[in-house]
């Protein structure tokens, strides 16, 4: 095999000189050794660096004899099959494989790699030596993150607000929706429409409107008469001024004293004297004595309780005579079923909510002992309670029947009526007249005895009636009711206390005793908002409500 070995030398400005040599053999050895067919003096070349073998058809096999490999067409390889035209780089030399010609079976062109090219090549293969040269970037991730945060946390929630149905779609995906805007947990009561932000936030970039609240809270009373008390604190305050949601379990309902005390400390001044409420600042330090709704009746008999300040000498007109001390004697009372010891719960039972006491009921609580019997011969018969006309009828009918039947066991009765009548024997007209007269007299007499003597007047104030239909008048009665209508008191939450801790009933000898605890009694356990030693912190809201006037809320409805 004839090899053409051509050495090309470039001498600046396009001057090129060739030096040709011939080599015989199948393989062409390349290296720094003297025995090499192609001798390269570069120190970077091994003594035996590479071998090129002719495969025919202008193809060559190139073998690297060094473990580092050689660069063939830009790639470092140990062995490769290369076509004519391929470039092999060894040290600073470039070898181009030539196609076979008529004169040579194989050929190679050797030239030095241009210095600039070499430098460019070195620069190309140079490893990055600073982070700026690596794939790391600050600009691209910055843009991506900026766009991502704006799209995910601003764009999507806004789309959910403006475009109907988007929210539902987003909720079904892991993508953030308006829940990503949730600034805090909703109050428990608002959870059932929690994901529908627009129920409260009807307009973007606006405060929550009162009308949004009133969509549900329509029946909420105002704090005071909005016409009489046209105060900016009441009229201009938005619902959300006090009711701040998104604060979890706290926050929605204000319980701080400032809510009330801000106005109520100087209420008479700020209302121009319109308010008849006493100034109040703190339950512990600055609260007037309680006012009670004292039972009273107007001329027509209608119940019109009077609001009176509680004091030791205040008497109650309950319309009833009831000495608590006599009923609460420790050794008990004689009753039809024997001896019975009464306590508070014998008569005072709480209502279903446990907050207030049910009214005392005569039939349930009193009649056991205070039986309304009226005739010794019939000890089981009693007159009905409280219904005066029925009592009169009952007595009339009872004694008329007795008189007509005859056989009355009463020495004062006329002789014919005391005789027992035989069955089937009709009374004579004279006997009937006699019986009716006696029965009427007897009924009146027993009635008088009941009303003024042994039954009604035991407990009630009884006076003669004005008309024939109403022979007796019993004073109206109110035994149990709401004494403190402006505050909330819950017996159940005070269930760990004894009744006598607040109600000194065992020493009460008359029903005119009020037996209601005054503010000093409450202050034994309850301090003001700041609390106190061994006392509860009790702000205004502990007993009073805000939305409790009979007037409806006036709000900025459109």
């Amino acid at each position: 095999m004839r090899w053409l070995i051509r050495k090309t030398t470039r001498k600046g400005k396009g001057q090129v000189s060739f030096e040709e040599d011939v080599h015989y053999g199948d393989a062409l050895t390349i290296g720094r050794g003297a025995n090499q067919a192609v001798f390269l003096s570069d120190m970077r070349v091994a003594l035996e660096h590479a071998r090129i073998t002719v495969l025919g058809d202008g193809r060559y096999r190139v073998d690297s004899l060094v473990s580092a490999g050689i660069r063939i067409d830009g790639r470092t390889q140990q062995q490769a099959v290369a076509d004519a035209g391929s470039l092999i780089e060894i040290g600073g030399a470039r070898l181009e494989l030539l196609p076979a010609s008529t004169d040579y079976g194989a050929g190679i062109d050797i030239s030095a790699i241009d210095k600039q090219e070499l430098a460019a090549e070195r620069e190309k293969t140079r490893q990055p030596t600073s982070l700026a040269e690596t794939w790391l970037s600050r600009r691209l991730p910055s843009w991506l993150l900026l766009i991502a945060t704006l799209v995910l946390f601003l764009g999507l929630p806004m789309a959910a607000h403006y475009v109907k149905g988007v929210d539902a779609v987003l909720q079904s995906t892991p993508l953030p929706s308006r829940d990503a805007w949730l600034a805090g947990e909703l109050a428990p009561a608002h959870h059932f429409f929690g994901s529908d932000c627009q129920s409260c936030h009807s307009e973007a970039f606006r405060w929550v409107k009162d009308k949004d609240c009133l969509t549900c809270h329509a029946a909420t009373p105002a704090h005071a008469d909005p016409v009489a008390f046209d105060l900016p604190e009441l009229g201009n305050a938005r619902c959300a001024h006090c009711h701040r949601d998104h604060n979890g379990k706290t926050g929605l309902v204000r319980a701080d004293q400032a809510l009330c005390a801000d106005c109520h400390v100087g209420l008479s001044d700020s209302t121009g004297g319109k308010s008849n409420l006493t100034d109040v600042g703190d339950f512990g330090a600055d609260h007037p004595q309680f006012k009670v709704a004292l039972p009273a009746w107007d001329a027509s008999g209608a119940f019109t309780p009077q609001r009176v300040e509680l004091s030791a000498d205040l008497n109650e007109r309950s319309g009833l005579k009831f000495p608590h001390d006599e009923h609460l004697v420790a050794e008990g009372l004689n009753g039809p079923q024997g001896r019975r010891v009464l306590d508070c719960a014998s008569c005072h039972t709480p209502d279903a909510a446990g907050a207030l006491m049910q009214p005392v009921n005569f039939v349930k609580h009193c009649q056991d002992c205070h039986a309304l019997t009226f005739d010794v011969t019939q000890p089981d018969r009693q007159v009905p309670h409280a219904r005066i006309q029925e009592i009169i009828y009952t007595l009339d009918e009872f004694y008329a029947r007795r008189a007509l039947e005859g056989g009355i066991v009463d020495a004062a009765a006329p002789e014919p009526l005391r005789v027992r009548r035989r069955p089937g024997q009709a009374p004579t007209p004279q006997e009937r007249q006699l019986a009716l007269t006696w029965a009427r007299d007897k009924a009146r007499q027993v009635g008088e005895s009941l009303f003024t003597g042994r039954a009604c007047s035991v407990c009630h104030a009884v006076s003669p009636g004005m008309t024939a239909d109403e022979p007796w008048r019993v004073a109206p009665v109110r035994v149990a009711g709401v004494w403190f209508p402006k505050s909330r008191f819950d017996h159940r939450s005070h269930g760990t206390m004894d009744c006598v801790d607040c109600h000194r009933a065992e020493q009460s000898r008359a029903s005119s005793d009020l037996l209601l605890p005054d503010i000093a009694n409450c202050r034994q356990c309850h301090a003001g908002e700041q609390g106190g030693r061994d006392r509860l912190k009790s702000g205004c809201i502990a007993c009073h409500g805000y939305h409790e006037s009979p007037h409806l809320l006036q709000v900025d409805l459109p």
């Binding site: 970077r44 490893q127 991730p141 993150l145 766009i147 601003l154 990503a180 970039f205 604060n247």
Partner: protein, 303 residues
């Protein structure tokens, strides 16, 4: 005396930040919001939030200010000092603004991003204070380019020396040169893998194999390591006294080269460590800008 970013003008901005934090704390404990726990919706919450947002925007402005070489508003070092101290004060101010309430929402996202930015900045402060001194010491009065040039010279000298010893040694030295890699990808730069530990281990192995009279180091030439392989080979294949002399010189050269290569790798590593945190700090701060906009707009959107 050198005035570092932390001690700039007698820690002027440390005091500014300290006073800002103190004022925020006093206000936070003095303020008793009605009807709700402390939160961003009270007047103090809005105030602290306004201060925090303004600070964040101002801190972001640093990225623009530091490129304005002709700006006359303070020195860049003063700006950086303020950037560090006021940026740190944000941790407290923003936590007070939030009333320490967190949740799965854009608000806490902004808080989290802000904390990540600040803590990555803390690493930056550490890097700027510590690494320049380490770099100076590591370079030992040379520059990186000078060291790289010297490595090239050593390579050339080593090749000539190796040629005088043995063709096989020459091949290995050549291979070592071609495989010597300075720099590389992110991980390679940050870890500065110079293989010195492995080289020591290989040296030890080669030495012990020589003691046993074996000649087992040669196969290591295929293991793809560079100078380490050289050392192995040299330790295992000495043949004559003359060669030994040349080999010793070669080893000296290669040791010198190894030291230089390690130093360059360390230089690259230190520089990379000084820069790497910025690739977290800057993108996250821009993400924070997005989250901050979303946070502010969302709060005002559903006021």
């Amino acid at each position: 005396m050198h005035d570092s970013i932390l001690s700039f003008k007698r820690q002027r901005y440390l005091w500014v930040a300290f006073l800002l934090c103190l004022a925020s704390l006093v206000a936070y404990f003095w303020h008793q919001p009605v009807g709700a726990p402390p939160n961003g919706g009270t007047w103090l919450g809005y105030t602290l939030g306004g201060i925090g947002a303004t600070l964040i925007l101002w801190l972001l402005w640093f990225g623009i200010r530091k490129r304005r070489y002709r700006s006359g508003v303070g020195t860049l070092r003063g700006w950086l000092s303020a950037h560090v101290y006021l940026g740190s004060s944000l941790i407290l101010i923003v936590l007070l603004h939030s009333g320490f309430q967190v949740g799965w929402n854009v608000h806490t996202l902004a808080l989290t991003l802000m904390l990540l930015v600040i803590f990555s900045g803390f690493f930056g402060v550490f890097a700027y204070l510590r690494y320049p001194a380490l770099m100076t010491r590591n370079r030992d009065n040379a520059t990186r380019d000078a060291m790289i040039e010297e490595i090239a010279d050593l390579d050339q000298a080593a090749l000539q020396l190796a040629d005088a010893v043995d063709p096989a040694i020459h091949a290995i030295v050549l291979r070592s040169i071609e495989r010597t890699v300075l720099g590389g990808g992110v991980w390679a730069q940050l870890t500065a893998r110079d293989g010195s530990a492995e080289a020591l281990e290989n040296l030890r192995q080669a030495a012990s194999s020589k003691e046993k009279g074996g000649d087992k180091a040669a196969p290591a030439a295929n293991r793809g390591q560079t100078m380490i392989v050289m050392v192995d080979f040299l330790a295992g294949q000495t043949k004559s006294d003359k060669q030994s002399e040349n080999l010793r010189k070669l080893i000296d050269l290669m040791t010198r080269k190894k030291v230089l290569a390690e130093r360059v790798a360390r230089d690259i590593q230190l520089q990379a460590l000084m820069e790497i945190w910025l690739y977290v700090h800057v993108p996250l701060s821009i993400a924070l800008l997005g989250a901050l906009i979303a946070h502010v707009v969302s709060v005002l959107f559903y006021w």
